[in-house]
């Protein structure tokens, strides 16, 4: 039999590579684990405000091993009710260290932290807002140096 190939359609699939440390060493996640705890859409789909999945609507992994669409967790942490806590376990939400998946979000989270920090700083020192911002920034820089630049979250910078 002779086969002539007339056309080739290439198809690819992708998923986020989400590091898991299940206690039993298994890599399987249950169905519940595969949706964002905030919007309940699949990690591989987008958050409610995005159109295209992937880099434009990426995931972040928390220090507590809870994952969310970055837009979802960002919106939550921006509310006052959140007190900076993870929606699932109510621990302080921090990006997990040294994960490639978190890298692109470090700056964004740093800004969020700084904004919250300066908002509160403003309450205590209305007259020197700028000074407060500078101080916060200096502190932030310090935190970064201490951690060799691979962590942005610092407990002291989260405003409760």
């Amino acid at each position: 039999m002779k086969v002539d190939i007339e056309e080739v359609h290439s198809v690819f699939a992708w998923t986020w590579h989400i590091p898991k440390d299940n206690k039993d060493g298994s890599l399987e996640a249950d169905d519940d684990d595969d949706v964002c705890g905030i919007c309940r859409a699949s990690y591989n789909a987008t958050c409610p405000s995005c159109k295209y999945p992937g880099d434009e609507c990426s995931l972040v992994v928390g220090e507590c091993n809870h994952n969310f669409h970055v837009h979802c967790i960002y919106r939550w942490l921006d509310t006052t009710t959140s007190k900076g806590l993870c929606p699932m376990c109510r621990q302080l939400f921090q990006l997990k260290r040294g994960l490639a998946i978190n890298d692109s979000q470090l700056e964004k989270f740093k800004e969020l932290q700084l904004r919250k920090r300066t908002n509160t700083a403003g309450e205590f020192a209305d007259e020197d807002d700028e000074e407060a911002i500078e101080r916060a920034m200096a502190q932030q820089d310090q935190a970064e140096v201490d951690d060799q630049g691979d962590v942005i979250m610092d407990q002291g910078l989260v405003v409760r």
Binding site: I38, R40, P48, W76, T81, P87, M88, R90
Partner: protein, 151 residues
């Protein structure tokens, strides 16, 4: 109005296909964010055999903001006031977007099973509850019969 978020659609579907025992929640036809809710009084509570009607509204910011829930049926309970407003931490400071309509309604059902007069909303009820629990419980039973009878 913006289209209904997927999460709300999913929650609504699951409430219908896999309802919580003793709880029903149905969205209004003309506003899918507004739910008519019934909660059966838990067994062995003063509210046993009662069916309580509530209204639940999902604000635009849901799930970043908690649902608004209110009793429509009158109830004698230290954490629920005359207007049906409910004093429950998860509806206020302890809201988390990981919670859902069903978990909120379960919390309310649990609140019926264990009234907490030390964190009152209806002060007069709480006072009576602390002063004479037996009398308060019998009053709660009476109100249940009076206002929350099964139809």
């Amino acid at each position: 109005m913006a289209s209904l978020p997927k999460r709300i659609i999913k929650e609504t579907e699951r409430l219908a296909s896999d309802p919580v025992p003793g709880i029903s929640a149905e969205p209004h036809e003309d506003n899918l964010r507004y739910f008519a809710v019934t909660i059966e009084g838990p067994e062995e509570s003063p509210y046993e055999n009662g069916v309580f009607e509530l209204e639940l509204y999902l604000p635009d910011d849901y799930p970043m903001e908690a649902p608004k829930v209110r009793f429509l049926t009158r109830i004698y309970h230290p954490n629920i006031d005359r207007l049906g407003r409910i004093c429950l931490d998860v509806l206020k400071n302890n809201w988390s977007p990981a919670l859902q309509i069903r978990t909120v309604l379960l919390s309310i059902q649990a609140l019926l099973a264990s009234p907490n007069p030390n964190d009152p909303l209806a002060n007069d009820v709480a006072e009576e509850w602390i002063k004479n629990e037996e009398l308060a419980i019998s009053k709660a039973k009476e109100w249940t019969k009076l206002y929350a009878g099964k139809r």
